[in-house]
């Protein structure tokens, strides 16, 4: 799988999981009372600032994500709230949630480490369970005294936080701003410009499979208003020639190009050298030869080229040449 595909794919999985982070919808974990308490204690023991405490940095995010849906300001199942240190220490109808220094004697720890089938297992109702890392964080924190003010660095051995997800790299500008133009071009030219995914900066796929005979060099020239939006161009079996490739060379964000069974030649391929993102190029059953393909294969971005049924690739015409 090419890297950009895998990247989009990971984004997709993220999108697919739907409700991204419950914390976005929840009030701050530290209630007003809690913050005052922290401030007071911070003076008293001259300990870490609230933001640098193990509780704020490591414990609170877990409680927020996995617990406060049912044990917070809105719902207090078992009369337990876990949306502040004070509430946590107050416990619920079953008694205290935490016994400082004794994870196995702390209801909070015990309930999340039961067998998932156990009716007392938390989170209940098949909500996402704590990860082993999260369980470990709770265990270390309780064992170290369940303190609100203990510094982040004071508890050793906590599993590292997962690196934050890399920001989504746009493959192309947001197509939505040009939706009317896109619709108009589709209608006028009888081609399709299909968004690659729900991510509006994933660009468009130029599709001609419905009637390749309708797409020629003139058609491509008319796509200038959306040239930078096209990340994938399916031009197999169309009537385009080398002149059309000059236009394709202006599709600056193009990554995938299919020229199967078109009249393009090695001469036209030179125009593609301008495409700094081009990764996949299909030249099956075209008149290209090694003179045109060699330069393309040198491009840093190119990952795969296909030259089946062409003169390129040597006497035995290897079916697909993947760049090492």
């Amino acid at each position: 799988m090419t890297s950009w595909l895998s990247r989009i794919f990971s984004v997709a999985r993220f999108v697919r999981s739907g409700n991204a982070s419950p914390s976005a919808r929840r009030p701050s974990p530290l209630s007003r009372v809690g913050r005052q308490g922290v401030a007071f204690l911070a003076i008293a023991v001259s300990s870490a600032r609230a933001e640098d405490t193990f509780f704020a940095k490591r414990v609170t995010p877990i409680l927020e994500q996995k617990c406060v849906v049912c044990h917070g300001a809105e719902k207090q199942k078992g009369k337990l709230r876990l949306d502040s240190f004070a509430h946590l220490m107050r416990g619920g109808e079953g008694g205290p949630a935490v016994t400082a220094g004794d994870p196995k004697g702390s209801e909070l720890f015990v309930r999340v480490t039961l067998h998932p089938e156990d009716e007392d297992f938390m989170p209940a109702d098949s909500k996402p369970p704590l990860t082993p890392d999260e369980v470990k964080v709770l265990e270390l924190w309780i064992a170290a005294g369940a303190s609100e003010v203990i510094a982040l660095a004071a508890i050793k051995g906590a599993p590292a936080l997962a690196a934050p997800k890399a920001a989504v790299l746009p493959l192309a500008p947001d197509w939505r701003a040009r939706a009317p133009q896109i619709a108009q071009l589709e209608k006028a030219l009888g081609i399709r410009l299909v968004p690659r995914s729900m991510v509006a900066t994933d660009g468009l796929v130029l599709r001609t499979a419905s009637s390749p005979g309708r797409c020629d060099d003139t058609t491509l020239a008319k796509l200038a208003p959306v040239a930078d939006l096209i990340v994938e161009a399916e031009l197999a079996r169309t009537k385009i020639t080398d002149a059309g490739l000059a236009v394709v060379g202006t599709f600056v964000n193009l990554r995938v190009l299919d020229l199967t069974r078109t009249a393009v030649t090695s001469t036209g391929l030179n125009d593609l050298l301008a495409l700094k993102n081009l990764e996949t190029l299909n030249l099956t059953a075209t008149a290209v030869d090694d003179s045109g393909v060699a330069a393309l294969r040198q491009m840093a971005s190119i990952k795969q080229t296909w030259v089946f049924e062409t003169k390129a690739g040597g006497a035995d015409n290897p079916t697909a040449a993947a760049k090492k």
Binding site: L5, I8, S211, Q304, F308
Partner: protein, 481 residues
């Protein structure tokens, strides 16, 4: 389906969606009058699907589904079982079968029946495959073999329905219809869902039925269109002697103008279907002869598949499947029948293997060399598996239907290559590791097409009907690259 923004909603999709009740029809007609320009008949460019844009990036654009109808035995194809061979002829341990549903062996004496042909190791990972399938063995590094598939049904018709529609009872839309409904058809002059059927020669195998490619409760323009394997691919394709193409076009145009008028008045999706089908049929008069004309195919390509043009073989259909894929057909389903070996397993199964082995492998090779395997999903499967126990009450020994273990394979975009997923117990009676079922297979296919299976539903009889059913299905993450 309303979770997706749909800036390019077509008139048909719109009507299809809102006209679920009388109120919906009224609303649709109102909008039709008020916004005629908005919902003008689309230019000829295939059909737009209801899912737009796609929630997930599309890994594959099309599916080629090879159905080995009748239920091939996994023990003679993809699931070697040395322990079963060692116990050949002994009683099947009751611990496996007690209380289990069996098809034709219910109440019979159950005897272990070892694999009837040797297995050999193929590919870089030394995957064990029957020596009856050397060509598939030669492309094993490009396919993902699943040995732990299961299905709900244990008899042919319900099993075919389940595999095709996600429900054992007939009447639901088949997967090809769902996919064309969701994604639209790329091909404006060919159907988006094409079915072709071949049969091993000389016997009268289990029937298959057109309801397996029905559109169910979706508009009927999404149903599979069967092309004939022999003779004209479509009956009465050519115009009668003195009717020119222009005349035929004028006739179709006039009929469709009348239909459109009526459609604007009553907004019935079935009229839209009729209009679309008339247009499509007219286009197919030109496109099908071009499609089935194999003269442009290299002799090496014909040799790769092992077919001669016009022979009506599974191999020819595999080649046609590639040509359909090139022309934008979204879902291509090939059936090869006569895998139902209750008897004569040792005699008949090798014949089916020979009829399909080279062509199935050639399809993978050909798609790969043309750069098409990366955006095509190829699936090879029966409707169920077969028992590790012998069946002797129908003549010379065979195997009975079985739903707790079956083997199948996938290949193409985003699927792990050269990989074996899941396993069965020592005797191959039941899948024990990475057990998956047909709903999971459908979920995975939709996922690769860019569709969230759990959000792709249509209101029908008060339910949000889905291809993947209501019991819950999971994408088989373990087979994804």
């Amino acid at each position: 389906m309303n979770i997706f923004p749909t800036p390019f909603q077509t008139r048909r999709a719109f009507i299809g969606r809102v006209s679920q009740g009388v109120g919906g029809v009224a609303l649709a007609s109102l909008l039709e009058k008020g916004g005629a320009s908005l919902f003008a008949a689309p230019a000829l460019a295939g059909t737009r699907g209801v899912i737009h844009p796609l929630p997930l990036p599309q890994k594959v654009k099309r599916v080629i589904w090879l159905t080995m109808a009748g239920g091939p035995s996994q023990f003679e194809t993809f699931d070697p079982k040395p322990k079963l061979a060692a116990m050949h002829g002994e009683a099947m341990p009751e611990s496996f079968t007690r209380g289990q549903q069996l098809a034709q062996l219910q109440g019979q004496k159950l005897v272990c029946h070892g694999p009837q042909f040797p297995f050999a190791k193929f590919g870089e990972n030394q995957t064990e495959i029957s020596t009856l399938l050397p060509h598939i063995g030669s492309v094993v590094d490009d396919i993902c073999l699943i040995r732990s598939m299961t299905t709900d049904a244990i008899n042919h018709d319900p099993a075919h329905m389940f595999m095709n529609t996600g429900a054992q009872i007939a009447g639901r839309p088949s997967m090809g219809a769902w996919i064309n409904y969701g994604l639209g058809s790329e091909a404006e002059n060919l159907p988006g869902f094409v079915v072709m059927v071949t049969t091993g020669p000389g016997r009268s195998p289990q029937p298959i039925a057109t309801r397996q490619w029905s559109s169910g409760f979706l508009p009927s323009k999404f149903q599979g269109v069967q092309l004939q394997s022999r003779g004209d691919a479509v009956h009465y394709l050519a115009n009668p002697g003195r009717v020119s193409r222009a005349q035929q076009g004028a006739d179709i145009g006039a009929i469709n103008a009348l239909n459109r008028q009526h459609d604007a008045f009553v907004a019935d999706p079935e009229i839209a279907t009729r209009i679309a089908q008339y247009e499509l049929a007219f286009q197919m008069q030109a496109s099908v002869p071009e499609l089935t004309d194999l003269r442009g195919e290299d002799a090496r390509t014909l040799a790769l598949y092992g077919c001669t043009p016009g022979d009506g073989s599974f191999a020819s259909n595999c080649l046609l499947a590639r040509r359909l894929a090139e022309r934008g057909v979204r879902f291509i389903q090939l059936y090869h029948r006569d895998w139902d070996h209750h008897s004569l397993l040792k005699e008949e199964l090798p014949l089916r293997a020979k009829e399909t082995d080279q062509a199935s492998a050639a399809l993978i090779t050909d798609l790969k060399q043309r750069g098409m395997l990366d955006d095509t999903l190829v699936v090879w499967t029966g409707e169920f598996g077969r028992t590790p126990m012998s069946q002797g009450n129908k003549g010379p020994t065979g195997r009975d239907h079985h739903n707790k273990s079956m083997s199948m394979w996938l290949a193409g975009g985003g699927i792990r290559r050269g990989f074996v997923y899941g396993a069965t117990d020592d005797l191959g009676y039941a899948a024990t590791e990475n057990i998956c079922n047909v709903h999971d297979l459908h979920a995975t296919m939709l996922h690769q097409l860019g569709i969230r299976h759990d959000a792709f539903s249509v209101k029908f009889q008060g339910l949000d009907a889905k291809l993947t059913g209501v019991e819950g299905a999971s994408v088989i993450e373990g087979i994804l690259a």
